[in-house]
């Protein structure tokens, strides 16, 4: 097994580990650079943009749901897969948590556990559809996206579930302040990111995530149970869907069956802006967080400038093009892609 891992490592990082590391760092520094440039631009235009009130309550808080979804889906995208179901699955998990907490009078911690379990199960179902039924990830998760949307409506009986007032402390999950001035939702996002980065870089499942994305066939040949690992990786994606759903209900004070559609695209955009390749094999959690922050800073900044909404959409689109194009130019010059 350890030979297999070594072989896989060689696959990912090529001949020189140091050269690969440098390349990767440059990518992140550049992405961080664009984030800083956008941030400074808005601060000059409206200084109130940089106030802590806006940075924490506006920008960082807005990043929580999409950011958590993006972290989980980074794993999936690195394997060369995609998960379109994360948006509507968030709504489904939120509704199931709401209904369960309400009917079983659960406390906050049990409610959170239910969310993680349900989210994980949904992720595993995606993994099974892809590995056992051999459906392409795009189709498998498109199907679960639709099914989750329908089930959220069915389980909720088309009504928002207002359960948070019954549970002491649910509001504090995202809106409390364990650390003064920093909303707990933001804390969850960063702790979630750190855990994900450790799993991705320091554990066997992380290594296999890269290996499968770089070369599935070679990974299989080296004796790795690719299918089992894929199911587990989609399960990780599901766990983050569970976290996102819990933060969402805490922020809104309810679970709404009509939310979530379209969040998958925002999350995937954050991952790609953060430098993860849609083709698989490459990606970082810190990049994803930077990608999610770029989107959040942009959307929040344009709102602070009180620009007409039509133009907000156009500019957001243009910045996505610029961000990903800039990254491509850098990689091309670094010889990463042809």
């Amino acid at each position: 097994m350890s030979d297999a891992i070594k072989a896989v490592d060689g696959e990912v990082e090529g001949g020189s580990k140091i050269a690969a590391l440098v390349k990767r760092e440059i990518g992140r520094v550049l992405a961080l650079g664009s984030l800083v440039v956008i941030f400074i631009f808005f601060t000059i235009m409206r200084p109130v943009f940089a106030s802590w009130e806006n940075v924490s309550g506006g920008i960082l808080m807005s990043t929580t749901v999409i950011g958590l979804l993006a972290i989980g889906t980074t794993f999936v995208i690195i394997t060369g897969g995609i998960d379109l179901s994360i948006g509507t699955a968030t709504a489904l998990v939120a509704i199931i948590v709401g209904k369960t907490v309400q009917s079983m009078h659960l406390n906050v911690w049990s409610g959170i556990l239910v969310g993680l379990i349900v989210g994980g199960i949904l992720g595993v179902i995606n993994g099974l559809l892809i590995t056992i039924l051999k459906l392409p990830p795009f189709i498998a998760t498109l199907a679960t996206m639709k099914a989750a949307q329908g089930l959220a409506l069915i389980v909720s009986d088309m009504k928002p579930v207002l359960f948070t007032t019954d549970v002491k402390g649910w509001d504090s999950i995202a809106q409390g302040n364990l650390i003064p001035k920093i909303p707990n939702g933001v804390l969850i996002l960063f702790v979630g990111a750190i855990i994900a980065a450790i799993v991705l870089n320091k554990t066997v499942i992380g290594r296999y995530t890269f290996a499968i994305g770089s070369n599935t066939a070679a990974t299989k040949l080296s004796g790795v149970q690719v299918n089992n690992w894929l199911v587990a990786i989609y399960g990780i994606g599901g766990l983050y869907v569970g976290m996102a759903a819990i933060v969402l209900t805490s922020r809104l004070g309810s679970a709404r069956p009509d939310l979530g559609l379209g969040y998958e695209l925002e999350a995937i955009a954050a991952v790609i802006i953060g430098g993860t390749s849609l083709l698989g094999g490459k990606g970082t959690i810190s990049g994803t967080i930077i990608g999610a922050l770029i989107m959040a800073v942009l959307v929040n900044g344009l709102r602070i400038l009180e620009l007409q909404q039509e133009w907000q959409y156009v500019i957001t689109g243009a910045v996505i093009v610029l961000a990903v194009w800039g990254d491509n130019v850098r990689r091309r010059s670094a010889g990463e892609i042809s």
């Binding site: 409206r46 806006n54 808080m61 088309m158 809104l252 069956p257 939310l259 559609l261 909404q309």
Partner: protein, 332 residues
């Protein structure tokens, strides 16, 4: 304003009398009516459905009610409309998402000899800007809430709450659907015409009424405008999102006045607690009932319905939320 409410009340009362007038005749065949709504999720549409079902049961008809997952899915809704036409029902009720896009589909229904009555929002078959009541060549008429007048009522109420001056933000739930446009324009035009000391910030949109996006828009607006006096949200999701942003920013209740639209458990709780000042409610059950009634009477008795049936609206707040006239139209 009292006058408007009186007219609305009288109209509703008359509607109630007419609505219960027709008895079930066992010899008649049960009419099948397809209702294509703008959505199923929001409880508003559930109330429309309930009103339609209740009326259908009274008049020996059955309804099949469906709508897309959210109010931006025009294509999905048109597919449902085509599917309904293919079933050859006795009549179709249609709430237009695509006020111009649906024209050819409606003409197909006409060609198949299926009578159509619109509810909530009419499509324009006369070309140009969709206008209520001029859609007679593809539908018999429309049962609707006068959303423009409802938006104007919200403007008057919000202006009174903030003493007729200060900054106000409008958060819309759609830039394209007619109800969303009317609710926005009714508000905006009234403010511009009557309240010179109120400054309107550029309208922001939380597409589809996404509560989370509305929350984020409100948070940004509170940062950008320390002197913001009022917010008007054009649907339930938007109103709830704005209220949650107040909570997150730990604003003193009532510092920024919020007027929303429709009801729902959370919004009603916010109004009772003082987080939100009030909201405009339509009469969703009335919309469903009037549509079914117009269609059944037309098919069975050849009674041509009025091409505009206004089903009414009310402003409610903490003080009158339990008033039977109001409470009957609110839903959890």
């Amino acid at each position: 304003m009292k006058k408007v409410l009186t007219i609305v009340a009288v109209a509703s009362a008359m509607a109630l009398v007419v609505g219960t007038g027709s008895a079930v005749n066992a010899a008649e065949k049960t009419l099948k009516i397809e209702l294509i709504s703008k959505g199923e999720t929001h409880q508003f549409w559930q109330a429309v459905k309930k009103g339609a079902e209740t009326q259908a049961a009274l008049m020996n008809a059955t309804i099949h009610f469906q709508g897309p997952a959210n109010e931006t899915m025009i294509d999905k809704q048109l597919e449902m409309l085509d599917g309904a036409i293919a079933l050859k029902p006795d009549a179709i009720g249609y709430a237009a998402l695509g006020t111009t896009e649906s024209v050819s589909h409606l003409k197909a229904a006409n060609a198949a000899g299926i009578p159509v009555y619109m509810f909530d929002t009419a499509a324009s078959c006369t070309g140009g800007v969709p206008k209520l009541g001029v859609s007679s060549d593809c539908a018999l008429g429309v049962a609707y809430t006068n959303s423009t007048a409802a938006g104007s009522l919200a403007a008057d109420k919000l202006a009174a709450l903030i003493g007729g001056k200060g900054k106000v933000l409008v958060i819309g739930h759609s830039q394209t659907n007619q109800t969303g446009i009317d609710r926005r324009d009714g508000f905006v035009n009234r403010i511009k015409a009557k309240y010179k000391n109120i400054t309107l910030l550029p309208v922001q949109y939380s597409e589809g009424g996404d509560a989370l996006k509305a929350q984020e828009i409100t948070s940004a607006a509170l940062v950008a405008n320390k002197d913001l006096k009022g917010i008007y949200g054009t649907n339930e999701g938007v109103s709830i999102g704005a209220g949650q942003a107040f909570k997150a920013a730990k604003l003193t209740k009532g510092k920024v006045k919020l007027i929303g639209f429709d009801s729902g458990k959370q919004q009603m709780a916010n109004i009772k607690s003082g987080l939100q000042s009030g909201a405009i409610t339509q009469s969703p059950m009335g919309i469903g009932a009037k549509t079914v009634e117009a269609l059944v009477n037309y098919v069975r008795n050849k009674t041509v319905p009025k091409n505009l049936i206004d089903t009414g609206f009310y402003y409610y707040n903490k003080a009158n939320i339990a008033d039977p006239k109001i409470a009957g139209n609110l839903y959890e």
